[in-house]
Structures are given as structure tokens and as C-alpha cells.
Amino acid sequence: MNTAADGLGVEGVHVWRGERHVLKAVSLHIRPHEVLHISGKNGSGKTTLLRVVCGLLRPEQGRVTWLGRSISDVRSDYQQALAYASHEPALKGDLTALENLRFMVGLKRRTSAAELSACLQRTGVERCADLPVRVLSAGQRRRVAMARVLGMRAPLWLLDEPFTNLDAGGSETFAALIAEHVSAGGMAVVVAHHELELPTAARRLELPG
């Protein structure tokens, strides 16, 4: 039986980068109400794995499935269902935080300024809504990027080192948001090289260096 018929599955994925065999037969699955913590040393392929899961990088071998079907067959549905926060915040410095959100969230679904402001408030950067992103600190940008993930209302969160640059309060807020998301039936894949302190249980996948 396919263990990931109601979620995300990665089956025997191999990725080479030039001569380097970065991912060797990696398999994982995640279902609603679960958090998966991907850890490993620097250079162990955590980000590469997350890019494979997103569908940005095609693995040489193996496949990624969403609701039991290969993501290349259901690409559009799968992309609607995921919210990816890469290591870079992916925000435009010349646009305000709210404009950045309005555009990127707007590409996924119809939304209103009030709703996006509420997302910024939940990540603690409502005061920065009308400031151009280039004047924000690295931690504030991270919070705006997290507000974008919230705004997309996607069941599957794929977060690459989301706790980087955050102060203690920010880490707590993010952990609470992740816990709230999975308790509401969502799924979260979190890449982090350190221990996760979440109010909810997380399964762990350690990539061999």
C-alpha cells in the first residue's frame, strides 16, 4: 500500500550534482497533522532535497508523489497546494511588505489587503506593512516571507531554515504557527540544521553527510 496516498511521498530519490552523489536513495512521506524535520550537516543535501520535493529539481532516479500521484502529472494542483519558503526571503526590496505579499499570494489565490495585513500581524511585522522591504532587517524579512506562507493557505508548507536571523520571540512565534498549521490538518516539512523546539511532535529525517 502506498503510505502517502493522502499526503506527500518521496520514493528512492537519487540526485547527482556533477560528480557528486548528493541524495542517495532518499525516501520520506508526510501526511496531514505531521511535521517532518529534515536535518543534517552543511552540504548534506537538505536544500537539494527540498527543491526536489517542490518540483524545482528533477531527480535522476525515484519520484515525488502528491496524494498518490506523481507531481509531474498533477503539477498545477500540487503547486496550488504548496507554500515554499526558500533560504532567500524572495522579496522585492523596492516594493513594500504588503505589495510583495499582494503579488505573490495573489498569484495563488484571490485575497484582500485586510487579510494580508492580518498575516503580517501574526508574524509580528504589521508595522512594516507599508515600508519598502529594502529597509527591513534580515529577521523582519524572514517574518514577511513567513506571512506570505500563511497568506497562501496551502496545506503543505516547505520551509528552508525558517528560523535563521530570528530573535527568540520570532522563533517561538514561528514554532507556534507551524504547530497551529499541522493541528488544523496541514503538513510541514522543515529543513533546519539545529534541533527544532516545536510545541508539537516532529518526525526527523537525518541526511547522512
Partner: protein, 224 residues
């Protein structure tokens, strides 16, 4: 969500970003105006000589100034990670390429077309030839934006992609120069320019139907 709404969002964002950076917005236009006004200053300002050279000067300057803004078409988005977000937006890269190219044309090509009467007067092009000049420049710059999208997508991952981009795009733009300048030349001398305009039109249709697919394939490779 429909592709049309995604396109309007994309074009709106590109325009907004450009207007926040007026220096970058005006650069190609100022370049176009300066290069074309240099010719009357540097050459013998005899009206007959200028009139003979005008189409070539106008078109070469237009191609080079459109080229100036090409490199940044995908570069900024690729560098700050926005391109990944766009690729995962659920719309497919083809839609993204169409939106970005349309915005590029509005900001470079359309601006050139609007500024061309100024240059035409400086070069002594008669008012009767303006219609053909507008039509040929519109079709030519549009085609160039599409060709440029392919070049920009292919070179987006390179550190100094600008030179390579010119080497890819300029040879492909030769037919535009020949037929664009040809059409303007015929209009100046009062003969029928329809043949050259039809050819430019067919090139424009050809590139805008195929370039989005070529450019999105190139972007997909860059993202991997």
C-alpha cells in the same frame, strides 16, 4: 485562478517596480535619444545626407537601447529567489515569460516608439513617413523583446551574461534591422513599404508564438 489575472498581476508588478527605479526606466530612452542626436552633430548636417542615413541610425539605436534593459529581465528575480516562487505559483513558466516580456516591451519598446518622432525630426525624416516608422518600430521592438526573452533566459545563470546575451540576440535581430530600416527608407522616399512591414509582422507572430516556450524551457534548466 486564470492565466489572464496572473498576467495582469505580473505586468502590474513589473511596471510598479520600474517606476520605483526611474533611473533604470529612463536609461534606454536617454541612450536612444543621445545616440541618434550624435549623428547629426558628428556628420555633415546636410539634410539630404541625414535623410539617407536616418533609417539605419534610427533602427541601430533602437535595437541597441532595447538590448540595454534585456539582461535585467529575469536576472533580479533569479538572484533574490523570486523566480523560484514564480515557478511554483501554479501558472507555469510560459505564463511568467509572457508577462515579463510584455512588461519589458511596454517599458522599452513602446517608450521608444513614443519617443521616435523627436529623433525623426532631428534626422530630417518627413512627417509623411511617421506612420510607417511607428508601425515598423512597434513590430520590430516587440519581436526583439521576444528574442531577448530567450537570450535573457539562457544567460540568467551566468555572472557576466551581458556580452553573451548580445552575441545571441543581435545576429537574430539582423532581419529586423534590414526590413525595419528598409520599410522606413521606402516611406521616406515615398514608395510602398507594405512588403517590408508584412515581413516584420510575420517575424513578430513567429517569435511571439514560439519564444515563450523556448524561454520557459531555458528558465527551467536555470532553476535546476
Amino acid at each position: 485562478m486564470s492565466a489572464a489575472r496572473a498576467l495582469s498581476l505580473l505586468v502590474g508588478r513589473e511596471l510598479r517596480l520600474s517606476f520605483r527605479r526611474p533611473d533604470q526606466l529612463l536609461q534606454p530612452l536617454v541612450f536612444f535619444l543621445i545616440v541618434t542626436t550624435m549623428f547629426p552633430l558628428g556628420l555633415n548636417p546636410e539634410a539630404s545626407l541625414l535623410k539617407d542615413m536616418a533609417p539605419g541610425v534610427l533602427w541601430t539605436a533602437a535595437l541597441l537601447s532595447s538590448l540595454l534593459s534585456l539582461e535585467s529581465m529575469f536576472k533580479g528575480d533569479a538572484d533574490d529567489g523570486t523566480l523560484e516562487q514564480l515557478a511554483l505559483s501554479g501558472h507555469g513558466l510560459t505564463v511568467i515569460v509572457i508577462g515579463k516580456t510584455a512588461a519589458h516591451w511596454l517599458l522599452s519598446g513602446a517608450a521608444l516608439v513614443l519617443a521616435s518622432p523627436l529623433v525623426a525630426i532631428a534626422l530630417g525624416i518627413p512627417g509623411a513617413a511617421f506612420g510607417t516608422m511607428f508601425a515598423s518600430l512597434t513590430l520590430g521592438t516587440l519581436t526583439l523583446s521576444w528574442l531577448g526573452a530567450i537570450g535573457a533566459a539562457l544567460t540568467v545563470g551566468l555572472k557576466r551574461g551581458n556580452v553573451l546575451l548580445s552575441l545571441i540576440v543581435l545576429p537574430l535581430a539582423m532581419p529586423l534591422l534590414i526590413f525595419g530600416a528598409g520599410a522606413t527608407d521606402r516611406a521616406i522616399s515615398g514608395t510602398d513599404a507594405a512588403g517590408a512591414l508584412y515581413f516584420l509582422g510575420s517575424l513578430c507572430v513567429f517569435t511571439c508564438t514560439l519564444a515563450p516556450f523556448a524561454a520557459s524551457a531555458a528558465l527551467r534548466i536555470t532553476l535546476e
